[in-house]
């Protein structure tokens, strides 16, 4: 299950869905909004998703995690919209019989998500203009 959420992520409720008598390990990652980025004071973030494609690519990543690791359950929810410092931006949960698979799958999902899923982050700073993270070009458009 990969979802995009416009509402705050219900982390406790999601964690309960990983419960399984066969799961000796449960690994949960919560990415939260931090108050600094590259030395600048961040006051809030805005996430935007290309939802139709993000859900497809997110579900592909979850399927890959199931293939690569011996897991029982995997799930991921990414928030969109305007987030304050400390709010949960992304939640990844994995249940497995053993910890190696739980840690491994959880990390795999987080890293692939950050590289592949069409979601963008705009940082708003205490000083200066907001910036779309990673979308900076050093060269002007050709004329």
């Amino acid at each position: 299950m990969f979802l995009i959420s416009k509402e705050p992520i219900p982390t406790s409720q999601l964690a309960r869905r990983l419960e399984d008598p066969a799961a000796g390990a449960r690994s949960i990652f919560e990415g939260r909004v931090r108050n600094r980025a590259d030395g600048r004071e961040v006051t809030s973030l805005t996430y935007e998703a290309y939802e139709a494609l993000a859900v497809k690519e997110g579900n592909r990543i979850l399927a890959e995690a199931r293939d690569r690791f011996d897991v029982l359950h995997v799930a991921c929810v990414h928030r969109v919209g305007h987030l304050q410092i400390g709010e949960c931006a992304v939640w990844v949960g994995v249940a497995a019989a053993h910890r190696e698979a739980a840690f491994g799958a959880c990390r795999y999902i987080v890293e692939e998500l950050k590289n592949r899923v069409p979601i963008w982050k705009k940082e708003t700073y205490a000083q200066g203009d907001p910036v779309w993270v990673r979308a900076i070009s050093s060269e002007p458009a050709p004329t």
């Binding site: 990415g31 998703a49 290309y50 987080v110 899923v117 979601i119 963008w120 982050k121 990673r134 004329t143």
Partner: protein, 83 residues
């Protein structure tokens, strides 16, 4: 004259802000989606070089050599920054 095709651009994040709209229809003689991006980049002074981007056609990733079809929905994907 080259045949013109009509396609819909769907804009997200930085492209949505630069174009100040979620979507727009364009008529183009571009053969591939790469040709289309270069044409639009010159026309609208778009911020990113093609090497920095990916592209999606009809809600699926596509290669830049993809040949545009009438009615395609095209989305240019700036470097992603989820998580």
């Amino acid at each position: 004259m080259k045949p013109q095709k009509s396609v819909t651009l769907e804009h997200f994040a930085i492209f949505r802000e630069v174009r100040q709209r979620d979507r727009e229809s364009v008529s183009t003689a571009a053969r591939t989606v790469a040709d289309l991006y270069q044409e639009l980049r010159r026309l609208h002074d778009l911020p990113l070089p093609i090497e920095a981007l990916r592209v999606a056609i009809n809600d699926e990733f596509a290669p830049w050599e993809y040949e545009l079809q009438e009615g395609d929905r095209v989305a240019f994907i700036a470097p992603v920054a989820g998580g």
